[in-house]
């Protein structure tokens, strides 16, 4: 893991020294330890490669909620902060994964009552005929109460080309609930950055009701390799040095191609490499290559990777 902050607690304001001895005070460190949110944050650092701005924001939110809880114990509560979020970024940058973690973080901090996340898209919110949308949206909201409502590809809710689109109705109900039942529900919108921008422009009410706009940056090659190795380790595969070099070269080419979807493309590439490895081992065995051992079965060789279509195109021009 690149980040060295995994074992550091949330950065807290250095207010302890300012507290006078006769004033009631709260031990933030104890609160932090009690909430076990440190484990989630450390896990986040360990499992998610890169994504520094996202991790920073999650730490900030965690700190804010802890301080809020500390204030509450001293009787200076200011009401729960709004925590509706918008995750924008290119495909495969981990928006859904982070949203799932977010439910865990918010639950441990006591901001939401249940550790559950309801993941929906336009289809689940918008009805097919007049009068169908409102009950459908309300039903989804009811199911998400107490937890996190995750709306994937949220920009599809608004279809500017059709002014009679029912999406607008769903948006209105959503906004109303986001405003009135802030303590019952956290809404996280996710979508590609450029399209989310258009979405917010046509629904200004949305932008102002969302406190946290988090942008997910694209991964660079080193991070993608790290992601690939994590995926392979979980699937009990490995790359040898040659294959690793081949994969690096593969990624350098793939990144420049259209429709590159970051970690998702990596996973697909690895799936195809596994397919080729399987057929290679099988062909070998059929030609009398003898029994295969664990080492052979877990190794993805350079030939498995170099067989990819991506290598057919000329190599990228040096940047």
């Amino acid at each position: 893991m690149t980040s060295a902050t995994a074992d550091l607690p949330v950065r807290e304001p250095a207010e302890k020294s300012a507290v006078k001895p006769d004033m009631p005070s709260v031990d933030l460190v104890a609160l932090f330890r009690e909430s076990t949110v440190g484990d989630v944050l450390a896990e986040l650092d360990r499992d998610l490669v890169g994504l520094t701005p996202v991790k920073t924001r999650i730490r900030e939110i965690a700190a804010q909620l802890l301080v809020e809880r500390a204030r509450e114990t001293l009787g200076i509560a200011s009401g729960a902060p709004t925590l509706h979020m918008c995750f924008s970024g290119n495909p495969g940058t981990g928006k859904t994964t982070v949203a799932l973690r977010m439910a865990d973080v918010l639950f441990r901090l006591g901001y939401i009552r249940r550790k559950h996340l309801v993941s929906v898209t336009r289809d689940d919110l918008v009805g097919q005929y007049i009068g169908h949308t409102a009950p459908k949206t309300r039903d989804v909201l009811k199911r998400a109460m107490g937890g996190v409502l995750f709306i994937d590809e949220a920009y599809y809710l608004y279809r500017p080309e059709n002014e009679r689109d029912y999406g607008q109705e769903a948006i209105e109900i959503l906004l109303q609930t986001m405003e009135n039942q802030r303590s019952d529900l956290v809404v996280i919108l996710a979508g590609y950055e450029s399209r989310m921008e258009t979405f917010f422009q046509s629904n200004p009410g949305f932008r102002s009701r969302i406190a946290h706009h988090v942008t997910f940056p694209d991964y660079d090659v080193a991070e993608l390799i790290e992601i690939a190795e994590g995926m392979l380790a979980r699937m009990h595969y490995r790359l040898d040095a040659e294959a690793r070099a081949a994969f690096e070269e593969y990624l350098a080419r793939r990144i420049r191609q259209p429709n590159f979807a970051n970690a998702r493309s990596v996973r697909n590439a690895l799936d195809r490499a596994r397919l080729r490895q399987a057929s290679r081992i099988f062909a070998d065995a059929m030609q009398g290559g003898g029994p295969s051992d664990t080492a052979a079965l877990t190794l993805l060789s350079a030939t498995d990777i170099r067989a990819s279509r991506v290598f057919d195109t000329p190599p990228p021009r040096p940047v």
Partner: protein
Amino acid sequence: MRITQGTFSFLPELTDEEIGLQIDYALQQGWACSVEFTDDPHPRNTYWEMWGLPMFDLKDPAGAMQEVTACRTTYPQHYIKVNAFDSVRGFETMRLSFIVNRPQDEPGFRLERQDVQGRVQHYAMKAYSNDQPPASR
């Protein structure tokens, strides 16, 4: 006459917080909650009007409470109850049902006697609150 039907009906009225806790308990047992209302408190009136569909897949009482509140605003002078349905095979029935709203004034029941065949008497209970036709009560 305060009618006593369902769970908790001999207890003082539940507060909203207590209702929420009961719904929470039902959800933890995996029961699906629904809200029903009626203006006919007769004990044999088993099928009350449904306030929306039963709410499956709820995780938190806030969703069900929202419906209770909505039903109360629409029918402040009706009986409203929350049912919790257990779909587990072998039960497939209500496991919990309690009244969450009742009219301010509950006139009670009158006993009606009917002479049939000789000296045989049939008894019937009628709720005073249902004396008026539905539109005017």
